[in-house]
């Protein structure tokens, strides 16, 4: 059933592989120090890419996931909504109310303030 999709993936892979192989075989190679250095928007690279991130990034990512999951739960709710509007709405309100406490907490703790 998904043969078309599989064929498309194969075609995409083949084209990509072909581009690499052809480029590797035919392209001129004149490596130099500048050419081999990492390209960072044309600016010479400073320091290592492996730097420790402040833990704040993690918090924001986690908050994103929490509310991402909330949305994921709302999708089936929305699809089924017409079957029992009041009931589902009430449940959605409870669910959001619980998470809203978390949101208020995040605001009060200043997690969403980027300094």
């Amino acid at each position: 059933m998904y043969l078309e999709v599989l064929m498309m993936f194969l075609a995409a892979g083949l084209i990509a592989a072909a581009a690499l192989v052809v480029g590797g075989l035919l392209g001129p190679k004149k490596p130099g120090e500048v050419k081999l250095s990492a390209y960072e928007s044309g600016v010479p690279a400073v320091g290592s890419a492996r730097e420790r991130f402040p833990v704040h990034f993690y918090l924001v990512a986690m908050v994103f996931i929490i509310f991402d999951l909330e949305t994921a739960f709302f999708y089936p709710l929305a699809v089924k909504f017409q079957a029992a509007p009041q009931f589902l709405f009430a449940n959605a309100v409870i669910f959001v109310a619980i998470l809203a406490v978390g949101y208020v907490y995040l605001l009060r703790k200043g997690v969403l303030n980027w300094k």
Binding site: P54, V55, D68, A72, P76, F95, K109
Partner: protein
């Protein structure tokens, strides 16, 4: 069936990769492979909504979180510790025993898998509608508890990171109450100060 075997092989390969690869980022990418293969498996079972959620939530959001943690800790490759040398063989042995046990269970108890019609009946075409139907009847309590769990997770994680104890925090311009957070200076400190210790050997 053929598709399942290929996908299962991919998933197992990804799983083994997660455990064996020495670079944490590579391990994370192996995990992405496993999660994506699982999503495709859902597609082959006609569970399209689950597949989409699997990609969005797991392969997308949760993997980002994993990568953040790896960057946060800035671990580069495996450090072979001197202590607990017995741990690695022991872990492999335990994993081997578990896999062998499950394999034995599988071979002793070969059960014809439910046919496509049964699966389809249970999944109802795998759309979000059927999931909504089950989620808001049988698993209504679980749905609300997930909300509580998410709230708990937020509070637990933030309370560990943002330890805004006003008296211990360096006061800045009298704005202690309104600005409890300085990412680099204060909350990062808990992580940063371990740096020398963790990387002492490098």
């Amino acid at each position: 069936m053929v598709a399942f075997v290929i996908l299962a092989a991919l998933m197992v390969a990804g799983g083994v990769g997660v455990v064996t690869l020495r670079q944490p980022v590579h391990a994370a990418l192996a995990l992405v492979g496993t999660l994506l293969a699982l999503a495709v498996t859902y597609v082959t079972l006609q569970a399209h909504f689950l597949a989409a959620i699997q990609v969005i939530v797991y392969a997308g959001a949760i993997m980002v979180l994993f990568l953040f943690v790896i960057m946060l800790l800035n671990v580069s490759g495996e450090r072979t510790g001197d202590r607990l040398k017995w741990l690695k063989p022991a872990a492999w042995a335990a994993a081997g025993v578990t896999v062998a046990g499950l394999a034995v269970v599988y071979f002793l108890q070969r059960q014809p898998l439910p046919g496509a019609a049964v699966v389809d009946g249970a999944l109802g075409g795998g759309g979000a509608e059927r999931i909504g139907e089950v989620l808001f009847t049988d698993y209504l309590l679980a749905f609300q508890l997930v909300g509580v769990l998410l709230l708990t997770g937020v509070i637990a994680a933030v309370s560990l990171v943002q330890r805004a104890a006003p008296e211990t925090r360096p006061q800045r311009g009298g704005a202690a109450r309104s600005a409890p957070h300085e990412p680099g200076a204060a909350s990062g400190a808990g992580v940063m100060r371990d740096d020398e210790l963790v990387h002492g050997g490098h």
